[in-house]
Amino acid sequence: MAESYDVIVIGAGPGGVAAAVRASQLGAKTALVEAVHWGGFCLNRACVPTKLFAAAVERRRGLAAAARLGLRDVAGEIDPGALFGLKDELVSYFAMGTEGLLKAKKVSLLAGRGRLAGPGRVAVGESLHEAKAVILAVGAAWARPDFPGADLEAVVHPARLLEEAKIPASALLLGAGPWALEWAQFLSACGCRVTVAARERGLLPGFDPEIGQRLRAAWKNDPVTFLAGCRVIRASRNPEGGLAVTLSVKDREETRAFERVIHFERRPALEDLGLESVGLKDLRGNEQLQTAVPGIFAVGDATGCFPDLSHGSTAMGILAAENALGAARTYDPRVVPRIAFTSPQAASVGLGEEEAEEAGYDVVTGTAAVAATPMAMIQGAAHGVVKVVGDKRYGELLGVHALAPFATEIIGAGALALQMEATLEELARAALPHPTIAESLAEAAREALGWAIYLP
């Protein structure tokens, strides 16, 4: 039965849910199509499960240091079984919540695979629907690496680990981005022998390099092995089980054994989406998130504009819904913070120092060492820095970068400051609460302006 809508959104991840709710709020008759799970990849397979794991890792570290705070006889080993159970519980609770929310917001839910069937038409299973505007929020799909042996069963993406609900004895993780590092820490905390292999030279590519360098320093005594400038040449089955993986490490070949190789790369999920029916090849859009075809918008991981970030998808979803209904707002990816729930946490928003220099700014930076502040000492945090990047000419704030406990929370202030186009001066004069880790943000800005208060 063909039904006619103002807006049809395909994909119920963070981007799609936000788009559908916003469109409905603005009075549009809205449908949301989802093939697998309400809440999308983020809720079911990525952000929520892995943050639960990160919380366990962090809590365990806290327990290890508890004696310092006068707590006697506490110690904690992670029981992965219990944790996976809790994960299932939380995820199904939130998925149900998402479904309920969408209904409360008067969004029509269409379960099934959605496909474009010409301009203004979306097919879901057997039924055809019409829409004045379509928003594609289909996310990304795992991209298998291309070295010989990558198709072996033991080469998996992390969502497979969630399904297996088992911790391998050893694993090689490909890439040093935030999600790989989070998994690395979690697996390692569960007793897995973890090696991280990255093509790049440092951790957290895309963040201000100083953050990656400092994280690596913080991990010096960690059991995770990190191989920089490393490429997998091939993998084969080991007679005694697991994989024999040949690596090129700084142009030297070596073979190591792993139970699992875990890859993290994802690409826009464009298959069977019917793009050809409207003459689209990809979902890259303009600043207003409209694709090359008028009336078709795309948001989130589906656009291929990585880094893949849930809150970026959400921000895009809201904007696309408004633009689909006649607004002309523009999306600014620069104010979307990057985050890593590592221990310590890393977060970054805006331009890094080098990026700002390349962009031609007369750059000034300021850093505040977190470790020496009262709250860091209370928390027993030995590492950390908050760094601001600014422009000399107008004192504009260009970027905020942090490696510190709660960095993923603190960066919110930086993101807001950037979005509001703050200058270093405002940040420097913000009366941030004491004692907190966040107060280093103001001190870093003061340092950039040449009047750090607590720098001896």
Partner: protein
């Protein structure tokens, strides 16, 4: 006793000035150190602080030409004294827009208060950029949330000068604004014209690698002692002038005077005209000293506090339009000097080196000089020296 308001001598050679505006209305109370009037010589604009506290009794109207030391008004201790002064020394009626503008404010007992700009919704960065370029935020339309003026709005206003409104009903032109050619503007006006009419100017262009310069800046920055491009060019010029003293010269009557001192002026724009403060004895200064001096001069310039002495007696001028994205241009000599160096932006370009194309940061250098006294070869040699110093700063040492 009433306090006299007399025109101060702002520089060694200053003899007269224009009183451009009174900052308080007649009869208004002015506090000590509060700005009471604005003076303009052909080099500086000076906001004069009040010598004391009292009720203002101006003697000369805004716009008058006055000599150094002349008494232009009084501050009366009280209303009775003010009335007496008005009888004894009837002041010229204070007319002109400035006084009219301050009058209502004065009535409200806050003489020079501007309308509160916080009523305009604008982001901090937008405000900072507007301030730096003298853009009136009130004239802009905001594109941010709830009409907030954001960075992009100010940048747009900077990039495309607002088109003059079409003249109503045909081809007649309407005046948008009349800018009297006085003070600094008059000086620019006169000098620019004198420059071209009194000298035979020629410009030589060259282009050079800026890689070393960029490296040097990066290093200095890392070392915590950043230097500006201008400081570097001032040093390069000063050192080159030492090797080519004939460039550091002026025509006076029938003789060419070659100067011993090397005072390099740097063209600066603070949004209200062109100023060329001088770095004295630039050839004897280190890069750090030049940088510090430039910073001091720029700060003074922004605050409207450059003195006549800081603005006169230069022997060579640097004008750098790199920050404006200008590739290259033909500068005009600042007489009585005889040469000026124009610097364009630094841009990456493909260059052919030993049969291979590679990408290199390049900058254009343009030397204009008075061909009456400097021969082409001499000018070219000087420019080549500067160019080599830019390419290889170590040669300066």
């Amino acid at each position: 006793m009433a306090i006299e308001i007399a025109v101060p001598k702002l520089g060694l050679t200053m003899e007269e000035a224009v009183l451009v505006a009174w900052k308080a209305a007649p009869g208004a109370r002015v506090r000590k150190e509060e700005i009471v009037l604005v003076l303009e010589t052909d080099k500086v604009t000076y906001e004069m602080p009040s010598p004391g506290e009292g009720l203002l009794h101006p003697l000369v109207p805004a716009g008058s030409r006055i000599a150094v030391g002349e008494v232009v008004g009084f501050l009366a201790a009280d209303a009775a004294e003010l009335a007496r002064l008005a009888l004894e020394k009837p002041g010229a009626a204070v007319t002109g827009e400035e006084a009219a503008a301050v009058a209502p404010a004065a009535a409200a007992a806050t003489p020079s208060a501007a309308p509160p700009s916080s009523r305009i919704k604008a982001s901090p960065a937008a405000r900072a950029i507007a301030r730096a370029h003298g853009i009136d935020l009130a004239a802009l339309t905001g594109s941010g949330p709830a009409g907030r003026i954001v960075r992009a709005d100010v940048m747009r206003a900077l990039e495309e000068p607002r088109p003059a409104p079409a003249a109503p009903g045909g081809s007649a032109l309407t005046v948008l604004e009349e800018i009297p050619i006085v003070g600094v503007r008059r000086a620019i006006f006169r000098n620019m014209h004198a420059s071209l009419s009194s000298q035979a100017q020629i410009t030589l262009h060259t282009e050079t690698s800026a890689e070393a310069l960029l490296r040097l800046r990066r290093k200095r920055k890392e070392a915590g002692a950043p230097v500006s491009y201008n400081a570097f060019f001032v040093q390069a010029i000063a050192r080159a002038l030492r090797r080519h003293p004939r460039i550091n010269a002026s025509v006076e009557g029938e003789v060419i005077r070659v100067w011993r001192e090397i005072h390099v002026g740097v063209a600066m724009d603070f949004g209200n005209g062109l100023f060329v403060p001088k770095v004295r004895h630039a050839d004897a200064k280190t890069l750090e000293e030049i940088e510090a001096e430039l910073q001091r001069l720029a700060a003074a310039g922004r605050a409207g506090r450059l003195t006549l002495d800081e603005l006169s007696l230069g022997t060579f001028t640097l004008t750098n339009l790199g920050a404006w994205g200008i590739d290259r241009f033909t500068p005009i000599v600042n007489p009585p000097e005889s040469a000026i160096l124009g610097v364009g932006r630094i841009e990456e370009k493909p260059v052919a080196v030993a049969g291979e194309v590679r990408i290199e940061a390049r900058t254009a250098l343009s030397l204009t000089f008075d061909h009456r006294i400097i021969d082409g070869a001499a000018g070219a040699a000087f420019l080549q020296t500067v160019s080599r110093f830019v390419e290889e700063p170590a040669l300066m040492l």
